[in-house]
C-alpha cells in the first residue's frame, strides 16, 4: 500500500511515488487500459502536474466514468493544492462508486487539511463501512478521532489551542488497490492487491457492534483510586471495584497479538513523521514548528534555561543568512510505552558547512503527538 504524508514537502514524496508507480505498473499491465494512464502516473511522479492533468483529462474525455482516471485526477488536484477541485472529484467518485474506500479516505485527508474533522470522520467511517479491514483508513480515523478529541477538550477546558504543530498526518491513498471490478478498473492480481489483513481495533469500528462471544472465563476486576483533590468535598477517595461485566469479557475475545503489532508500526510511523517534520521545520527556519517539536520539559543542553536555549536556537536557525538544509536517513526506532528512542544520520548543510552526524532523539508521547525530550549528537 503506497502512502505518504501530505505535510511532507514534495521531494520527500519521491520515494513513495516510485513505489506507487511500480504498483500501478502491475495493475495496468492489462492491455485494455494501457492507454495513457501510465503516462499520467509518470508525469505525477515527475511533479509535472499541469501536463498530467492535461493527459488525464484527454483520457477521461473518452472514458468519463473511469474510476482510476478520475482518482488520478483527484490526486493531481490534491498535489496542485486545489483542495476544492480535488474534493469535488473524490466526492463524485464516492457517489458513483460507493463501494470504493479510497476516494472516501482521500476526501477525509482533504477535509482534515481544512480542519473539517467531522466531515473527515464521516468519510473515513464510510471507507471502513465498505472495507472493514482497511488499515490506512483506521490509522487515519485514529488521527481524526484524536483531533476531534483535542477540539472537544479545548471546548471543555477552555484551552487556547494555539499549538503551532497542528500538522496533518493523514495518509493519502495513491492507488485504487481494493477496487472490486467496477468500471474499468480490474486489479490483475487480486490476491496481492488484497489489503493487509490487519485486524482493526474493534472500538474504532462504528459499524461493528460488539457482538463478540462473551468468554466467561476471564472476569478480571480492576480497582482505581479516584484522586481528584478538587472534588474531594463530594467524592470519597476510595478504591472502587469494577464490575466484571460481560462487556469486559466480550472485550477479551477479539484480542490478539496482531493489533499490537499494527499499533507498534503505527507508532513507528508517527515517530518517523515527527522526525521529518522536525527536520523540515529546521530547514525552512520555521521556529514555531521547530520549537513546537520539543516537549515542554525538554532536557536542554547543559541544563540551561529553556528561554536561553530557545534564544540560542533562534539565533542559530532563524538568524542564519542563506539556506539551511537538514536531511535525515532512515531512523532506527525503539519504542517503550510512551517513550521512544530514534537514532539516525543527520545531514546538515548551511552555506559552506556540510556535516553528517549520528543523532539520537528521545521522544515522549504527549496526547496524540510525540515530542522531543532529549537530543544528543555524536
Amino acid at each position: 500500500m503506497n502512502t505518504t504524508s501530505l505535510h511532507q514537502p514534495r521531494f520527500q514524496q519521491l520515494k513513495g511515488l516510485r513505489a506507487l508507480a511500480l504498483g500501478l505498473a502491475i495493475s495496468f499491465a492489462a492491455p485494455a487500459f494501457a492507454d495513457n494512464l501510465p503516462d499520467v502516473q509518470r508525469l505525477i511522479k515527475q511533479g509535472q502536474y499541469p501536463q498530467a492533468l492535461e493527459k488525464v483529462d484527454a483520457y477521461l474525455s473518452n472514458k468519463p466514468k473511469d474510476a482510476q482516471g478520475r482518482f488520478l485526477k483527484g490526486l493531481i488536484y490534491t498535489e496542485m493544492n486545489k483542495p476544492v477541485d480535488a474534493i469535488a472529484v473524490f466526492t463524485k467518485l464516492t457517489e458513483d462508486y460507493p463501494e470504493l474506500p479510497e476516494p472516501y479516505n482521500n476526501l477525509a485527508v482533504l477535509y482534515a487539511q481544512q480542519k473539517q474533522y467531522d466531515k473527515a470522520r464521516t468519510a473515513l467511517e464510510m471507507a471502513i463501512r465498505t472495507h472493514p479491514s482497511y488499515a490506512i483508513a483506521y490509522e487515519n480515523l485514529g488521527d481524526v478521532y484524536a483531533k476531534l478529541a483535542s477540539q472537544a477538550y479545548d471546548k471543555a477546558l477552555q484551552l487556547d489551542n494555539s499549538n503551532p504543530a497542528t500538522q496533518n498526518k493523514l495518509a493519502l491513498i495513491r492507488d485504487l488497490i481494493t477496487t472490486s471490478g467496477k468500471g474499468n478498473v480490474k486489479p490483475s492480481m487480486p490476491v496481492a492487491a488484497a489489503p493487509t489483513p490487519t485486524p482493526a481495533p474493534i472500538a474504532a469500528t462504528p459499524v461493528a457492534p460488539l457482538a463478540a462471544k462473551p468468554t466467561p472465563t476471564v472476569a478480571p476486576t480492576a480497582s482505581i483510586v479516584t484522586t481528584t483533590p478538587g472534588a474531594a468535598a463530594t467524592t470519597q477517595n476510595k478504591p472502587i471495584e469494577a464490575k466484571p461485566a460481560t462487556a469486559v469479557a466480550a472485550a477479551v475475545a477479539p484480542a490478539s497479538t496482531a493489533p499490537v503489532a499494527a499499533r507498534t508500526d503505527a507508532v513507528q510511523e508517527d515517530i518517523a513523521r515527527a522526525i521529518t517534520a522536525w527536520a523540515n521545520a529546521w530547514s525552512r527556519k520555521d521556529m514555531r514548528a521547530y520549537l513546537g517539536a520539543y516537549a515542554s520539559d525538554f532536557n536542554t543542553p547543559k541544563g540551561v534555561a529553556r528561554k536561553a536555549w530557545e534564544a540560542e536556537r533562534e539565533d542559530r536557525i532563524a538568524g542564519k543568512s542563506g539556506k539551511i538544509s537538514v536531511n535525515v536517513d532512515e531512523p532506527t526506532i525503539s519504542i517503550n510505552g510512551d517513550k521512544a528512542t530514534a537514532k539516525f544520520r543527520q545531514h546538515y548543510k548551511a552555506g559552506s558547512l556540510d556535516s553528517s552526524t549520528t543523532k539520537t532523539l528521545v521522544f515522549v508521547r504527549s496526547g496524540s503527538k510525540w515530542l522531543i525530550k532529549e537530543e544528543n549528537a555524536r
Binding site: A149, P201, A231, T234, A247
Partner: protein
C-alpha cells in the same frame, strides 16, 4: 484493547458508584430523613436507548451516557453525547466526555478528562459537576417528604424555592392550597454556588449565605453584563437575622450564565446562586418579586408529612397565643413571648416592655387579626423561624394595618420573639 475498555468501565463506575452511595450524610436532626429514592442501579437496563433529547436539563442524558459507558456501548455513548452537544454546543462537561470517548477509540485512557496536560482544576470542576448532576437525577425528593423550612405559605404565594448547597440543587415547590397548603415538588435544577461554599459571613468571602430570603427585584438582561446571562433576581441578604449575627456583604443574586458556557462548575460564583439560562427562565416564571421565598440551606432537612403538620400546628398555636395575649392587655403575659435579647429596629427588650406597659394602661379593648401568614424555618443550627403576616390591629383609641415580620427563636424549649418589624 482490554485495558481501554476496562479503564473506561472503571471510570464510569467510579462516577456512578459515588453517586449511588445513597444517604451518605448522617442527618443531624432525628426527625429528618433524607428521602433519597432507591434508584435503579445503572447497569440494570442493558437495552439500547434511542438517541433522544429533552428540555428538562441534561441529567437524564448524562445518566444514560454513563450507563452506556458502563455497559461498554461506547459508540452509542458517543452518539448520545453528540446529541447532547447539538442541543447545548458549549456544554463543557459533554465536550469533556466526548473527548474521552474519542480518545478511547484511539488507545487506552487513564482517567476522566484523559487528555495529557489537561488542567487538573478544570477537570476536577467538570467531574464534580457530573457527580452532583447524576446524584440529583437519581435522588429526586419523595412525594411524602417535604423540606422542613416550608411550614406555611400564604394563599396567594404560589411557589417557594429551596436550595441545597451540598447537593448543588435548587428545588421548586408549589403551594398546594387544595391540599392544606402542603408543599408539592415541581422541579429541581443544578446550581452553582460560591467558590468557597456556603455560610457566608462577610463581604468578599466568596460564600453563599444560608437563610430565609426573598427576591427583591428583577434585573432584566439589558441592564446586566453577560456574566449574569438571561437575568438576575437580587435577594435580601443580609436580612435582619444576618445583621444581628454580624454578617455583612451584599449583591447576593439568583442569576443566569454567561454566553460562553452552558453551565458553570458547582463552586464558581462569588456567592450568588447561578442557574443555566434555560433553567433560570423556567424558574423565573414562578418568581413573585417581593414574596417568593428563596431558602438556602446547607443540606435540606426533610420531614414526613405527619411531622411537618405537627411542627406547623405547634407554631401556629404559639403565634396565636402571642396574638391572644396581646388582646388580653395583660402585659406580663404578652411579654412572655419575647426574648430578653429582643430588639426591634429602635428598641431593646426593656424599652419595648416599658412602652407596652404604658400603652396598655390606656386600652379598654384590643383586637388583633393576622392574615396571609407565612412561616419559614431557618436552615441551620439555631432553631429559628421567620414569620410574616398582615397585621390588622384595632383598639379603642388606635387602628393600624401593617405587614409585619418576626423572627422566633427557640430558647430553652420555648419559642420566643427575637426581632420584629415592618416588612
Amino acid at each position: 484493547m482490554l485495558g481501554r475498555k476496562l479503564v473506561f468501565i472503571v471510570l464510569a463506575s467510579c462516577l456512578a458508584a459515588s453517586v449511588l452511595a445513597r444517604q451518605p450524610e448522617k442527618q443531624a436532626h432525628s426527625a429528618a430523613h433524607h428521602p433519597a429514592t432507591n434508584s435503579t442501579p445503572a447497569a440494570a437496563t442493558p437495552s439500547r436507548v434511542p438517541v433522544s433529547v429533552s428540555d428538562s436539563g441534561p441529567e437524564a442524558q448524562l445518566a444514560t451516557i454513563f450507563r452506556e459507558i458502563e455497559s461498554n456501548q461506547l459508540n452509542h455513548a458517543l452518539e448520545l453525547t453528540e446529541a447532547l452537544l447539538r442541543q447545548h454546543p458549549n456544554y463543557r462537561l459533554a465536550n469533556l466526555i466526548k473527548g474521552d470517548l474519542l480518545l478511547a477509540r484511539r488507545g487506552p485512557i487513564q482517567t476522566f478528562g484523559a487528555m495529557s496536560g489537561a488542567p487538573a482544576d478544570k477537570v476536577a470542576d467538570l467531574r464534580a459537576e457530573a457527580i452532583v448532576r447524576l446524584k440529583g437525577y437519581r435522588e429526586k425528593p419523595q412525594a411524602n417528604f417535604v423540606p422542613r423550612y416550608l411550614l406555611q405559605m400564604p394563599a396567594d404565594q404560589r411557589y417557594a424555592i429551596v436550595v441545597d448547597t451540598k447537593r448543588s440543587r435548587l428545588y421548586v415547590y408549589e403551594n398546594d392550597v387544595a391540599n392544606g397548603g402542603r408543599p408539592r415538588f415541581i422541579a429541581d435544577y443544578y446550581v452553582t454556588q460560591g467558590k468557597l461554599g456556603a455560610e457566608k459571613v462577610s463581604e468578599g468571602d466568596k460564600k453563599t449565605p444560608i437563610g430565609v430570603y426573598h427576591v427583591t427585584s428583577n434585573l432584566s438582561r439589558a441592564k446586566l453584563g453577560d456574566l449574569y446571562g438571561n437575568g438576575a433576581y437580587p435577594l435580601n441578604y443580609p436580612n435582619e437575622w444576618d445583621k444581628r449575627q454580624g454578617r455583612n456583604g451584599s449583591g447576593i443574586w439568583l442569576h443566569g450564565t454567561p454566553s460562553d458556557t452552558y453551565a458553570r462548575p458547582p463552586r464558581a460564583s462569588d456567592g450568588c446562586v447561578v442557574l443555566t439560562n434555560q433553567d433560570l427562565d423556567a424558574v423565573a416564571k414562578n418568581l413573585q418579586v417581593g414574596s417568593t421565598p428563596v431558602i438556602i440551606s446547607n443540606s435540606i432537612e426533610w420531614l414526613s408529612l405527619d411531622d411537618w403538620s405537627k411542627e406547623r400546628s405547634e407554631l401556629n398555636k404559639t403565634i396565636d397565643a402571642w396574638r391572644a395575649d396581646w388582646e388580653s392587655r395583660d402585659t406580663e403575659r404578652f411579654l412572655r413571648h419575647y426574648s430578653k435579647r429582643f430588639k426591634s429596629s429602635d428598641q431593646n427588650f426593656d424599652e419595648f416592655a416599658a412602652q407596652k406597659k404604658q400603652v396598655n394602661t390606656s386600652k379598654e379593648w384590643i383586637k388583633v387579626r393576622l392574615n396571609n401568614m407565612s412561616v419559614f424555618r431557618n436552615p441551620g443550627k439555631e432553631e429559628m423561624v421567620v414569620v410574616t403576616f398582615d397585621q390588622d390591629y384595632r383598639s379603642n383609641n388606635l387602628n393600624n394595618q401593617m405587614k409585619k415580620r418576626q423572627y422566633w427563636l427557640r430558647e430553652d424549649g420555648k419559642w420566643k420573639i427575637f426581632y420584629e418589624g415592618s416588612a
